[in-house]
């Protein structure tokens, strides 16, 4: 990045950016934040979409999955042809309550079956033959959106930051445990560094000191917010449950962050998948159901959209180990208290028209991003995604 672009985009001069007092001004902001926000839940490993939402009227499904196919009578039916995995009682509640939209056959042209590559594609919003080192949320931060100057605009509940959250000029903020981060930043060494007279610093050194100052002020801000409201609901005592609980607490405490990123891994079910998969889905469904209850109780669900995605789905045909191998297109779930159009947004994938054993893509995943960016966050999605994608109308 060019230095002058950085200055131009951040609206800061080099020295101003380095004065801690200037940054600390952010800490003073309080009040109820009413802006719309997005919570992203990433299912890593390639979630088996066909056993998440089962096309129970389809003979091909049962023929290709003699062992893995889930019997119609056990499914949680939501339409006359689709039913959720029995573990997804949480999803069924959300769907029945009009709080869920489902997009089927979401993918991209020339699908890549490698986990890390396909996840990169989803996180950067690139084409399959294109390599970007910025994520779609990162570029949202770069786009001078309102409030984007705050480093905590986009928060990832983790120790490290995903590519999705990295921009050229700005990045999201990684924090797994606000109290722990605050303690870490209060370390006497880091405090002394913050006192270094760096007015004369320029270029990369100024950038590093600025990142440090922002980390200090953001950690303080997030920590303060994390203390305001403590949830009384019972979340699944697992990582995803804990992380969503933390997000709910921050939101109900009035944090002004607009993007939250979290996820769960373990979906790479090549072997004996039935129980593993059900367990994972149970965690996802229960965590999200509690999370939405929590937000709804605080009147915050109306302002929230949750996006649940995975890097790819799995092959239609089960493998020889009672598992499934890497596939292509998959379902994406959008959850919120204020969806314009919930329910099934498009038909289930056609199992009689496959691309060498894999589902064909119906919707480009970027049309989901584009809908969220354009219709929910009111930003110019073309600027962030590089081109226009159709609006799916769910928000």
């Amino acid at each position: 990045m060019k230095r002058r672009d950085f200055i131009k985009l951040s609206g800061l001069t080099t020295t101003a950016a380095l004065i801690p007092g200037f940054l600390k001004a952010f800490e003073g902001k309080t009040g109820n934040f009413s802006g719309k926000r997005v919570v992203i839940v990433q299912l890593s490993g390639g979630n088996d979409g066909l056993n998440t939402l089962v096309p129970f009227r389809n003979d091909i499904y049962y023929k290709e999955r003699p062992k893995l196919g889930i019997k119609p009578e056990t499914l949680l039916k939501i339409t006359d042809e689709a039913g959720f995995n029995p573990a997804l009682t949480g999803f069924r509640k959300l769907f029945d309550g009009g709080r869920m939209a489902i997009c089927n056959g979401v993918g991209y042209p020339n699908p890549d079956r490698s986990h890390f590559r396909s996840m990169d594609i989803w996180q950067t919003g690139s084409n399959a033959d294109e390599y970007l080192n910025t994520g779609w949320i990162g570029r949202l931060l770069d786009s001078k959106c309102k409030g984007c100057d705050n480093p905590w605009y986009a928060v990832e509940v983790d120790d490290t930051l995903s590519l999705a959250m990295k921009g050229n000029l700005k990045s999201g903020f990684a924090v797994k445990d606000p109290a722990r981060l605050q303690t870490l930043m209060q370390d006497s060494f880091l405090r002394q560094l913050a006192d270094q007279k760096t007015e004369s610093a320029s270029g990369e050194l100024a950038f590093l000191y600025k990142t440090l100052a922002q980390t200090t002020s953001s950690a303080a801000y997030i920590y303060e917010k994390s203390k305001v409201y403590k949830s009384t609901l019972t979340y699944p005592q697992l990582q995803l449950g804990n992380e969503l609980k933390q997000i709910a607490e921050l939101i109900r405490s009035g944090i002004e962050s607009k993007i939250f990123y979290t996820g769960i891994s373990g979906f790479d079910t090549h072997v004996q998948q039935t129980n593993t998969h059900a367990r994972l889905l149970q965690i996802v469904g229960d965590s999200l159901s509690t999370f939405t209850d929590d937000l709804a109780a605080g009147g915050e669900l109306e302002n929230t959209v949750i996006l649940v995605f995975s890097e790819f789905g799995r092959r239609v045909k089960q493998n020889a180990s009672n598992g499934t191998d890497h596939g292509t297109a998959n379902n994406v779930y959008i959850i919120g208290g204020n969806l314009k159009q919930g329910g099934m947004r498009n038909p289930l994938s056609d199992l009689s028209d496959l691309d060498s054993g894999d589902l064909k893509m119906q919707l480009d995943f970027r049309s989901i991003y584009s809908t969220i960016l354009g219709s929910w966050l009111n930003v110019d999605s073309k600027l962030i995604l590089g081109r226009e994608f159709s609006n799916l109308g769910f928000v």
Binding site: Q196, E204, L205, L208, Q214, S218, S265, D268
Partner: protein, 461 residues
């Protein structure tokens, strides 16, 4: 800049900084000669006593057996990673290793079969101080490359253009210097480039398209080798490689006039990498202020230079894998074929704080205390929670030797002396106001050293 500062700059850029036994002495020209001439001997990366299961043997197995074996052997890629880190730390031929790190990012592949990784990285290390053309040809024929960019699936009747595209876009010419048709036709020339059952390059005649192709406007029954030769005949390749080397070794902000000059020389030398490197390292502009301390060290650079500076020896280097992971650069696991983006892309709130805390954790043999993302290459399918870097960085720092360097320096000058040795840009760093009361001189010097190693300044090269 003083002569000593210039020498320190040379060692930071042409290698991973000076090691604990080296002194900042001699003349700059003498040191440049030393950097250029100390690369003759080098040690191949090779894991002793490991089974090398060939492609032929794998093909004879059931899919389940194959998956299991590949999973078992995937751990060896990590062993290779640590082995290379060790070599980078101690190798006399620092320039070879630094160039190889560059070319590993340039010819980025990510495969799980460790013997492919082994031959791939040794090929890079072998040719990194030779001619770029030889390097390009040899890496293109490495099983790791053929597999990673799907050329093993590139067959006469069903061409796969992945390799043909990347060899032009990322490895040589750069975007805008070829057409889609060039890719299509070049892919035909590369059909049949595959891997033998013994895991060596093999041209599979029955999959090869030996017909007429038109590449870069020239028609003939071109073979893959011809395409690579034509790529090298285009000076654009010299410009593309030189610009990228400049960004890695000199400055991320490219001086295009200077790069053009360097590229002309590179092309005239028939892509002789040492000639280009000598020109860069000998140029007076290389030592000008604007080119000093302007690069953010890569995680591998940071880890290796810490090891060299402090003479660290690890009881168990395993946690260094986690350090690489959380800092965003794991050897042999680049993010994609385009390699690591580098520069400011290394830095976010998490990586910065981890970097600043790292020297302390090493000095204390403490835990890294950070969880990292499950990247699916080595994931336990049943692992739901993110793995945590629990192991301690058990190691010993050679403080005795390090502190000796400052024995003769008066106490008041020591802070600046340590800065001079460790930092690329020390103009603004002030001595910390409050220090823990030190029980001895050497304790105080340790504290000063750790303070300096933990500054943003130390992140720069």
């Amino acid at each position: 800049m003083t002569e000593k500062q210039k020498i320190a700059h040379l060692y930071r850029r042409a290698g991973f900084g000076m090691n604990i036994r080296e002194e900042l002495s001699g003349t700059l020209n003498g040191e440049i000669e030393r950097v250029m001439n100390s690369n003759q001997q080098w040690e191949e990366l090779f894991l002793q006593g490991e089974d090398r299961v060939t492609t032929g043997q794998l093909m004879a197995m059931s899919p389940e057996e194959r998956r299991e074996i590949i999973q078992d052997l995937a751990g060896n890629v990590k062993k290779l990673n640590l082995e290379w880190l060790r070599i980078m730390g101690k190798a006399e031929g620092q320039l070879r290793e630094k160039l190889s790190l560059f070319f590993h990012g340039h010819f980025a592949v990510r495969v799980r079969k460790f013997n492919h990784v082994e031959t791939y990285i040794n090929t890079i290390r072998k040719y990194s101080l030779g001619y770029f053309g030889d390097l390009l040809m040899a890496v293109s024929k490495e099983p790791a490359m053929l597999r990673f960019l799907n050329n093993v699936q590139n067959k006469k009747n069903s061409p796969n253009e992945n390799f043909a595209r990347e060899v032009m876009e990322l490895f040589s010419l750069g975007r805008g210097n070829y057409t889609e048709n060039d890719i299509k036709e070049a892919a035909r020339a590369f059909t049949g480039w595959g891997i033998s059952e013994e895991d060596e390059f093999e041209l599979k005649r029955n999959q090869h398209d030996s017909g007429m192709k038109t590449v870069f406007g020239k028609t003939g029954n071109w073979e893959g080798e011809d395409v690579i030769r034509m790529i090298l005949e285009n000076p654009q390749t010299a410009l593309f490689i030189t610009r990228k080397l400049y960004r890695f070794f000199v400055n991320d902000q490219v001086n295009e006039v200077r790069v053009k000059e360097l590229a002309d020389g590179f092309f005239k030398s028939r892509y002789h990498i040492p000639t280009l490197m000598r020109t860069i390292l000998s140029a007076s502009w290389f030592y000008e202020d604007e080119n000093v301390g302007c690069l953010i060290k890569s995680p591998v650079d940071l880890i290796v230079s810490l090891n060299r500076t402090l003479g660290i020896s690890y009881e168990n280097p395993q946690p260094l894998l986690a350090v690489q992971r959380v800092l965003g650069q794991t050897l042999f696991f680049p993010p994609n074929v385009a390699g690591w983006a580098g520069g400011r892309n290394w830095i976010d709130n998490s990586t910065l704080i981890t970097r600043l805390n790292l020297p302390k954790r090493i000095a204390d043999s403490a835990e890294l205390d950070i969880s990292y993302k499950n990247n699916m290459d080595d994931a336990n399918p049943n692992e739901v929670d993110k793995p945590k870097a629990k192991k301690t960085l058990a190691c010993s720092v050679n403080w005795t030797l390090f502190l000796q360097k400052f024995d003769k320096i008066p106490k008041v000058d020591r802070f600046n002396a340590v800065c001079d040795l460790l930092l690329a840009c020390n103009a603004s760093l002030q001595q910390p106001r409050i220090m823990k009361p030190a029980t001895s001189d050497s304790e105080e010097l340790k504290q000063i050293t750790l303070y300096i190693l933990r500054t943003p300044e130390y992140q720069l090269s």
